[in-house]
C-alpha cells in the first residue's frame, strides 16, 4: 500500500540540522539571528513557527544557501541527503537549489521575474537543471501549470506576472519550483499574501503535490494555527532558538508558555474573550 511505502520513506532523514547559527555583523556588534537550531526532516511536513525576528526565515535561507554574504553561517551539522551543505562549493549548492531543494517565497509579486512570461520562467528552471528540448520543456511546463490547477495553462503560460492575481502567481511559483522534481521544499510564508479562500486552494495544491511526490516540506509561517492544521510536526522558534518541538496533533498539550500564549492570544470565532489574553514575555525564554 502507498501508506506503508510513505511510512518507510519517511524514516529516511532528508535533512539534518544540528546547532545551526546565523550571525550578522552590525555597527553595534554581532547579532545572532539563529542561535543553535537543531532538527531533522524526513519525507514529512514540518512547520516552523515564530513571530518576526524569531529567526524562522533565516533558518530556511541558511538551509537553502541564501544567507546574505556578510552573515556567517555555522553548524555542527547541516546535511542534505548526506551532502555537507556548508562544505559544498557554491557551484554544487547552486546545482542543488531548484533541482533537489526548492523554495517558495511569500509574495509572487516580488519573487517572480516581472519582465519574463510565466511560461518562460518555468521553462528556464527546467532547462537549467535538465537537458530537455524546447518543445518538451514547454509541454512539461504546461502539464505542471495544469497540475497546480490553473484552468487555462496555455493562456497563463504567455502571461507576465503583473497580469495574474496573487493566487495565480503563487500557483505559478509552485509549478516552477516543482518542475525539476525536488525532494525537499522550503515554503516561506507561501500563503500570507493571499486571501483566506485562495490561501486554502493553494495549500490544497501544495498538500497534494507534496504527498504524491513524497517530498519533505518545511513550512515557515507566523500563523501557528494554520501551520498546525497543515503540518505533521511543528517547531516553535523564539529569539533565534527552538523553544518547542511538537506533533501538530498534540499542539493543544503544548508545554512551553510561549507556544501556549501564541495559541491563546488570537481571537477565535465563537470564543468570546474580552480582553484577549496577551503574552507575558519572559527574559528566560530567550536565554
Amino acid at each position: 500500500m502507498s501508506g506503508d511505502r510513505n511510512k518507510q520513506r519517511s524514516m529516511s532523514t532528508l535533512l539534518d540540522v544540528d546547532d545551526l547559527r546565523v550571525t550578522f555583523p552590525t555597527r553595534t556588534g554581532l547579532i545572532e539571528a539563529v542561535r543553535g537550531v537543531s532538527f531533522s526532516l524526513g519525507r514529512e511536513r514540518l512547520g516552523i513557527v515564530g513571530e518576526s525576528g524569531s529567526g524562522k526565515s533565516q533558518t530556511g535561507r541558511a538551509i537553502m544557501g541564501l544567507t546574505p554574504p556578510q552573515a556567517e553561517v555555522t553548524a555542527g551539522k547541516l546535511a542534505f541527503d548526506g551532502i555537507d551543505l556548508l562544505a559544498a562549493s557554491p557551484r554544487d549548492r547552486r546545482s542543488l537549489r531548484g533541482k533537489r531543494i526548492a523554495m517558495i517565497l511569500q509574495d509572487p509579486k516580488y519573487s517572480l521575474d516581472p519582465v519574463m512570461s510565466i511560461g518562460r520562467q518555468i521553462v528556464e528552471t527546467l532547462r537549467t537543471h535538465e537537458k530537455v528540448g524546447k518543445a518538451e520543456a514547454r509541454d512539461r511546463a504546461l502539464a505542471m501549470l495544469e497540475a497546480v490547477q490553473i484552468r487555462d495553462p496555455t493562456r497563463v503560460f504567455g502571461l507576465h506576472p503583473h497580469e495574474v492575481s496573487g493566487g495565480m502567481g503563487q500557483r505559478a511559483m509552485i509549478a516552477m519550483m516543482l518542475i525539476a522534481g525536488p525532494e525537499m521544499m522550503i515554503a516561506d510564508e507561501p500563503t500570507s499574501a493571499l486571501d483566506v479562500t485562495v490561501q486554502l486552494d493553494v495549500l490544497n495544491i501544495l498538500d497534494k503535490l507534496v504527498s504524491e511526490r513524497g517530498m519533505g516540506l518545511i513550512f515557515i509561517s507566523h500563523d501557528l494555527r494554520l501551520v498546525s492544521s497543515f503540518c505533521d510536526r511543528v517547531i516553535v522558534m523564539y529569539a533565534g532558538k527552538v523553544v518547542e518541538q511538537i506533533k501538530a496533533s498534540e499542539l493543544r498539550d503544548a508545554q512551553h508558555p510561549y507556544t501556549r500564549g501564541l495559541l491563546n492570544c488570537m481571537p477565535r470565532i465563537g470564543f468570546e474573550r474580552h480582553p484577549l489574553p496577551v503574552l507575558d514575555r519572559k527574559p528566560e525564554w530567550a536565554a
Binding site: E51, S52, G166, D195, V196, T197, V198, Q199, L200, L203, N204, D207, H222, D223, L224, R225, L226, S229, F230, G261, L262, C265, M266, P267, R268, I269, G270, E272, H274, P275, L276, P277, V278, L279, R281
Partner: protein
C-alpha cells in the same frame, strides 16, 4: 436612534473601474461596525471615501447627521480620524513622536498641546520615554500605538480603522486590539473597522457587512455570524476558510 455615520448609494470610480457600486451603510453612535471581504472587495475604498481619500462619484455620506461635500473641512477631521494598516508606512520617518503628535494640534490650533500629547501617550500605553524617539526606533506594535495616539489627540468621535493589526505579530495584535476596545469603552467612540479576518471582526464588532467586488453581500450581527446563521454562500465560504486548513483525504 442617531446615526454617527450614514452612507447611501456610494459609488467610487477609478477611471472606468467601479470600485464601489452603490453601497449603503448606517453606523449607530457608539457602535463598532466591521467591514469584511477579500482583497478588491472595496472595503478599504469605502473607508477611504469616508475620510475623503477616494473620490465619491455619487451617493451621500453623512457624519452625525451632517451631509459631507466633496471637500472635507477641519471640523470633519475633528470628528473622524483614521488609523492605517501599515505602521511602517504611516508615520513620518524623520519626525519624532512628539512632532508627529503636534502636527494635528497645530493644524487645528489647539493651545494645550503639552497636556494632550502627554495624555494621548499615556492612553495608548506608551510612557513619556517614547516621546522624543523616531519611528524607526519603535517596534511595529509601538508604532501602531503612536498612530492610534495621533488619531485620538483631536478627540474624535469616530475612528476609521483600516486593518489596524494585520501587519503585526499575533501577540502584539492582541495587545493592540485590547487597547482599541478599552479606548472605545472609555471614550464612547464609534468604530468602523476593516479586516479580512472574520475572527477579528467578530471579536471587535457588534455588526458587520460582508463585501465582494465593490458590493455589499450581506449585513449581519456578529452573533449571527458566530452562530453560523449567514444566509449567503459567499459569507459561509469565508467562515469555512477562516477555520484553517482541512485535509481532504
Amino acid at each position: 436612534m442617531n446615526a454617527a455615520l450614514s452612507i447611501d448609494g456610494l459609488e467610487v470610480v477609478f477611471d472606468r473601474f467601479r470600485a464601489l457600486k452603490g453601497v449603503s451603510l448606517e453606523v449607530k453612535s457608539g457602535e463598532s461596525f466591521g467591514l469584511v471581504g477579500e482583497s478588491g472587495s472595496g472595503k478599504s475604498t469605502l473607508l477611504r471615501a469616508i475620510a475623503g481619500l477616494a473620490p465619491a462619484a455619487s451617493g451621500t455620506i453623512a457624519v452625525n447627521g451632517k451631509s459631507l461635500g466633496a471637500r472635507r473641512d477641519k471640523a470633519f477631521y475633528r470628528e473622524v480620524q483614521m488609523v492605517f494598516q501599515d505602521p511602517y508606512g504611516s508615520l513620518h520617518p524623520r519626525q519624532t513622536v512628539d512632532r508627529l503628535l503636534q502636527e494635528p494640534l497645530a493644524i487645528h490650533g489647539f493651545a494645550d498641546g503639552e497636556k494632550r500629547i502627554q495624555r494621548a501617550l499615556d492612553e495608548v500605553g506608551l510612557g513619556t520615554g517614547f516621546r522624543f524617539r523616531y519611528s524607526h526606533q519603535l517596534s511595529g506594535g509601538q508604532r501602531q500605538r503612536v498612530a492610534i495616539a495621533r488619531a485620538l489627540i483631536l478627540e474624535p468621535s469616530i475612528l476609521l480603522l483600516d486593518e489596524p493589526t494585520s501587519a503585526l505579530d499575533a501577540s502584539v495584535q492582541a495587545e493592540v486590539l485590547n487597547l482599541l476596545e478599552e479606548i472605545r469603552r472609555r471614550r464612547k467612540l464609534t468604530f468602523l473597522m476593516v479586516s479580512h479576518d472574520l475572527a477579528i471582526i467578530t471579536h471587535m464588532c457588534e455588526r458587520l457587512m460582508v463585501m465582494q467586488n465593490g458590493e455589499a453581500v450581506e449585513n449581519l450581527t456578529a452573533a449571527q455570524l458566530v452562530g453560523h446563521r449567514a444566509t449567503k454562500d459567499y459569507t459561509r465560504n469565508l467562515l469555512r476558510a477562516s477555520d484553517g486548513f482541512v485535509r481532504t483525504a
